[in-house]
């Protein structure tokens, strides 16, 4: 068996666990998982790979919606399969009893524990409006092919 060049799969998972720091990092108060939140954005926004942190710019507003969004349930830690590390929220993201009459099509997942509320990921869907109703975002299968976050 020959040696090979690779990014170690465990490193991909450990990135999600905050085990490595190649620059100026953050001081952690404990080993507990950070808290994450999900916020909704109007279809006229421009969120994507360049988004660095939560911002209220282009965030939806309306009856029952609280700026900053809702908590993301995180009961399942990152895992690996093959050479892919992955993570998915362990429950649907739900915005109950809201009214947002201007079309929105994006949810930002961000870290609500760290200073500056750094961005994690943006996810788009067909434009929606909600009137006196509930928006439920159900998650993909938490595996190496479908998880919400994958480092392959």
């Amino acid at each position: 068996m020959a040696n090979s060049q690779a990014m170690c799969t465990v490193f991909k998972k450990d990135l999600m666990l905050g085990k490595h720091n190649f620059g100026t990092g953050v001081v952690r108060a404990s080993t507990a998982a950070d808290s994450f939140k999900a916020a909704l954005y109007y279809a006229t926004g421009s969120l994507g790979a360049a988004t660095t942190a939560y911002s209220s710019t282009d965030e939806v507003a309306g009856t029952g919606y609280t700026a900053g969004g809702v908590a993301v349930t995180n009961a399942t830690p990152p895992n690996t399969s093959g050479t892919t590390a992955f993570w998915t929220p362990s429950a649907s993201i739900e915005f109950p009893t809201i009214t947002i009459t201007t079309a929105f099509d994006c949810v930002l997942v961000y870290n609500d524990t760290q200073t500056g509320k750094p961005a994690v990921s943006t996810h788009t869907f067909g434009a929606q409006t909600i009137t006196a109703g509930t928006l439920t975002l159900t998650m993909p299968t938490n595996d190496a092919s479908n998880a919400l976050l994958r480092i392959a």
Binding site: Q5, A6, M7, K12, T63, G64, T97, T99, T101, S121, H123, T124, F125, G126, Q128, T129, I130, T131, A132, G133, T134, L135, T136, L137, T138, M139, P140, S145, N146, A147, L148, L149, R150, I151, A152
Partner: protein, 99 residues
């Protein structure tokens, strides 16, 4: 798709698998949360007094289902259930750069 359909059925909806849009009323006369004016408080109305429309959309990214209740021409209730099939957040570029 089945997850979405099951969710809709739990809410008392009848949704044939090949239906894109279903109009009319089905089931018991339930209270439906409604907002009659943009800044008005959310109240409830009996389902029998409203017209229901249900829609489903599926593409490579999502399965989305929604239910609307209308009072005349006005949408007074709309809920949506979006199932994210697969996120487009794969760090191939990162892995390629470092691997």
């Amino acid at each position: 798709m089945q997850t979405i359909i099951n969710s809709l059925l739990v809410q008392g909806m009848v949704l044939p698998s090949n239906t894109f849009l279903l109009e009319g009323r089905v089931g018991e006369d339930r209270d439906v949360p409604v907002q009659l004016e943009p800044e008005a408080p959310i109240t409830t109305m009996k389902e029998s007094g409203l017209q229901r429309r249900v829609g489903v959309h599926e593409d490579d990214n999502e399965i989305a289902a929604w239910v609307e209740y209308r009072l005349g021409d006005k949408v007074v209730h709309r809920s949506a259930h979006v199932h994210l099939k697969k996120a487009g957040v794969v760090g191939d570029a990162l892995a390629a750069a470092l691997g």
